[in-house]
Amino acid sequence: MSAYRKPGMALQVTAAGRRVLSTVTLVLCAGFFDPIATRDGAGQTPPQAPPIFRTTAESVAVDVSVRVNGSALTGLSAADFVVTDNRVQQRVESVEARAMPLDVTLVADVSGRTRGSWTTSASAADNIRNVTENVGAIAAILRPGDRLRLLASDTSVQQIFPMQAPAPAVVARLETQGLSSTYDALVVAMLRPIEANRRHLVIAWTKPIDTVSTSDASTLREVARRSDAVVHVVERDVDLRAGTAISPGGTPNNPLRMNLREAHVRTWRPLLRNDAAVLPEVAALTGGTFRAFGGLSDPNAAEEFREIFEEFRLGYVVRYAPRDVKREGWHEIAVTVPKLPDAEIRARRGYAIESAPPARTAPGPSDDLSRLATAYARGEIQSVPAELRRTSLPDLRRLIETFRAGDSDSALAAFPKRDALFALELIKAGLAASDRGTRDAALDLVGEYVNLVRSPLPGDIFECGWYGAVVAALEGALQGSVANDLLPRLLARCPADGRLRLARAFVSDQLAQMRATAVGTSRADPTPAIADGILSRYDEAAKLPDVAREANVRAAWLAHRAGMVDRAMTYLGHIRPPGNDRALDYFGELVRGQVLRARGRPDEAIAAFRSALAAWPGAQSARVGLMLLLVRHGERREAEALAEAVQADPGTQIDPWWMYWQGDYRLLQVLEANLRELAR
């Protein structure tokens, strides 16, 4: 179990007799930094205003180093120290030697050369060797029970290995990309929580330059002020002139015969922070030391480490229970040893007790959407359509509108393909709604996502597949005019997509059919002139192998309806043998039967209707078509049997023809399954 603990200022409850110290320490250290946690801890409650520490309930521990004439001084007792907390003198309860086990974080700057002065040019192999040597040197100095982790600082902060028992470790890989994350690396190092009865020592082998960190100097100082760690900074020399070479020779027009050349590799430097004060301040704020030093692998590196550790271990842990000071807020600490006025005393400058964090906001109206989106992002695809079907219409509309407004916490943000599929689920559900407002919201979502689903790269399979699926949904909802407006744009993005090409023709066909029906003509058949324009689109689609069959079937049916029987026969002649789309096989034979019947070839029409029934047994349209022909042909017994079968049908048998005017909607599940596979 781990909890926050501040070696420099650890707050402990001395709940005498109730628990063993270690347990109490664990509980209250958490409480120290998180007042909420203390409510259930050792019976503490947030203090009433003005909040003042209760005298014996909590204590602060401060790491203190005392040096006289450059050497650590040991043997001091509680009576020797004077501690003030926000300028109020405190009673020192105890002074202990710092014998607790150490957790050491080594921060190694690998953004350039790791030996000698830091320069931008570096050999990865040299860096690995140098860092490995120094990890070994530190591991050799640490004692059993101590632990070590390594953070490498470059363009990124890399944890090369986590906190672990000290052992010679071979660093296998270091990324060196050349930017400097000095500030971020220190922040990351200092944010590590400390376990009870341990100390956290950060040794930063770094340079003052920072070129990419998200943390600025003020953030770094603020973190240092509040951190539990004691930070020792060993600052490296920086040679920014390295990489520039003077080439002899020059040119005839170069009278100085000099040419300064500088090598450039990836020159982007978004920031240039070079604050000489910040690293010493970080060290001072945490009670650590600051030293200027050469390279990571200088011969005396191990000795430098040893000095840091020895000095740290020869220090004291001074404890006091804060009295007569306001509990929350910043506490400035000052530690002195009056009898040694010339001693150099190092201790952290203060600590903070934060107020209770703001209460979490109550669940908002977008919670349902977030829950569904999160499920979808996790790949729990199946539950979402069912839940959307159960959603009431006002709620569905609100869901769609909330989704359009954007949900910044949505887990789908990381998965743009799943996000587009989730939008498709909402579109389908919205288009199927009975109220116009919800349908309009779904159509708005279509308009938005047709843009958002565009891939940065042309001809993307997912993008084209998504277009195909949304057009199928629009065809299924008889929203041909919307699809018709969209299709030229979609085809410009996916010119080789057969289904979109076919949809361009089909949607025109569907619109013509719907317009004719709307004006109340007895037969909703297009005129030959209208049909001719649509047929040319079917002809275009028929050039693409994957949709040629369907294009010819639909063209034949359109030509037949427009009275262009010869042309219909020509299209029928182009229809290739059955494929793996049973519904299309059925359409083809059914259309063939109708055209042949109109052509006055009843025997062939009867054969076609029988083929249609073979393709889709029990389909009502084929049964009726066959029955009518059989009656005219005098085969009444079979016709009567068919009529009885039609009447006796319990209505469970689906006739694909009923979906003829919904175009690709019959394929929507397959199209979606393909998209899900691509989004996996």
Binding site: Q159, N254, E354
Partner: protein, 372 residues
């Protein structure tokens, strides 16, 4: 270095001896690698380059032996060979971007006509990686009409150049005074390349190439970059990124309110997680600078929803939580970032690399076109 190059390429030749079909004119190691590449043995060919730290020798071989190799399969194979050679060169340039990309010389020059006006000029000495791109670019753009494959290759080339972070290669150097051509001191390596100029000539309507101009200038000629981004901010394909970059520039100029207003416009324009993450991340930083920690926290959490465990947003959020009293939560965010495997590409730290995020997809598509 030369020895190392020669040795590496020699190893490649030996390796290739049993693996690749014989060429008509196996005159150099480079053509052997091209044979492997053309045969779909991409990793073998590129793997041979991993030990190379100076690509000048490779460039020389390609220039010398490339033309013969391109004709080695007859007219029927010519186009595929061109794409293979160009893509191979592009991959080599991308690997070589970690070696020296160019040298910039500072040269005092006296104009004979104006001897009292001596000036210091910067001269660019292009090294092999950018010249490999240019060699390949000439190959792919020789057709009269630019096609889909060239378009794909140029997108990939811009991605490589952006990763090399060289504005000068892409857009030229507006600040460097042009040398008087009467000074006969220029050699091939000092001629400005301005890669985007010939790309734009081939694909004048491709918004991603227009955007690349702004990206190239963003840190060097901000006014020019802002103008480009402003023109593209409503573009259906790159409007989201252009708007995000406008916002980032406003943030850098400490116009936090203006930046946040721009970042709010990003999400209706794109679903690119990289762009969305950056818009949210910068929003978080701007809100923190405006002393609105709750808004900053919300934005940074949202950024991490778009790219989970991204380094910069994790550190910004972890530090914010730590400083506002939620230390355990803050350290968990940091720990989660440190232990992410694989570590996600951090959008802020790859901000300048721009289209390089599309490189894996672009390369896969190019290789698919080349594969026999």
């Amino acid at each position: 270095v030369r020895l190392l190059v020669a040795a590496s390429l020699a190893v490649a030749v030996l390796d290739a001896g049993s693996a690749s079909p014989p060429t008509q004119d196996p005159s150099s190691a480079a053509t052997t690698l091209l044979d492997q590449y053309l045969a779909g043995q991409f990793e073998v060919a590129i793997g041979s380059l991993s030990a190379v730290d100076d690509y000048a020798e490779l460039l020389e071989q390609l220039k010398r032996d490339g033309p013969t190799w391109l004709n080695g399969g007859g007219a029927g194979q010519r186009e595929r060979r061109e794409l293979a050679a160009a893509t191979f060169a592009l991959e080599a340039a991308r690997l070589g971007a970690w070696t020296t990309w160019k040298e910039v010389g500072v040269v005092p020059i006296v104009d004979p006509d104006r001897p009292l006006e001596a000036a210091v000029y910067r001269l660019t000495y292009w090294k092999a990686p950018p010249l490999l791109i240019e060699w390949a670019c000439e190959l792919v753009r020789q057709r009269e009409r630019p096609g889909a494959t060239e378009h794909l290759w140029q997108l990939a080339a811009v991605a490589v150049a952006e990763r090399a972070q060289d504005y000068q290669f892409l857009a030229g150097d507006q600040k460097t005074p042009r040398l008087n051509p009467t000074f006969k001191i220029l050699n091939d390596a000092t001629i400005p390349i301005i890669h985007l100029a010939h790309v734009r000539q081939r694909f004048p309507d491709e918004p991603r190439f227009k955007l690349a101009e702004g990206i190239a200038e963003e840190w060097y000629e901000p006014l020019l970059a802002r103008k480009v981004f402003d023109q593209l901010k409503d573009d259906i394909d790159v409007g989201g990124e252009a708007t995000m970059r406008l916002g980032a520039m406003a943030y850098r100029a400490r116009d936090d309110g203006g930046a946040i207003a721009l970042f709010r416009r990003v999400e209706p324009l794109t679903r690119d997680p990289w762009v969305i993450h950056l818009a949210r991340y910068f929003t978080g930083l701007a809100e923190e600078r405006r002393n609105r920690p709750a808004d900053a926290e919300r934005a940074l959490r949202a950024a991490l929803a778009a790219v989970p465990r991204a380094e910069s947003a994790s550190i910004a959020l972890g530090s914010l939580l730590f400083r506002t009293g939620r230390r355990a939560e803050g350290s968990l965010v940091i720990e989660s970032m440190l232990t992410a495997a694989p570590k996600p590409r951090d959008p802020w730290r790859t901000y300048a690399d721009a289209d390089d995020r599309f490189w894996p997809e672009l390369l896969a598509r190019l290789r698919k076109e080349i594969r026999p």
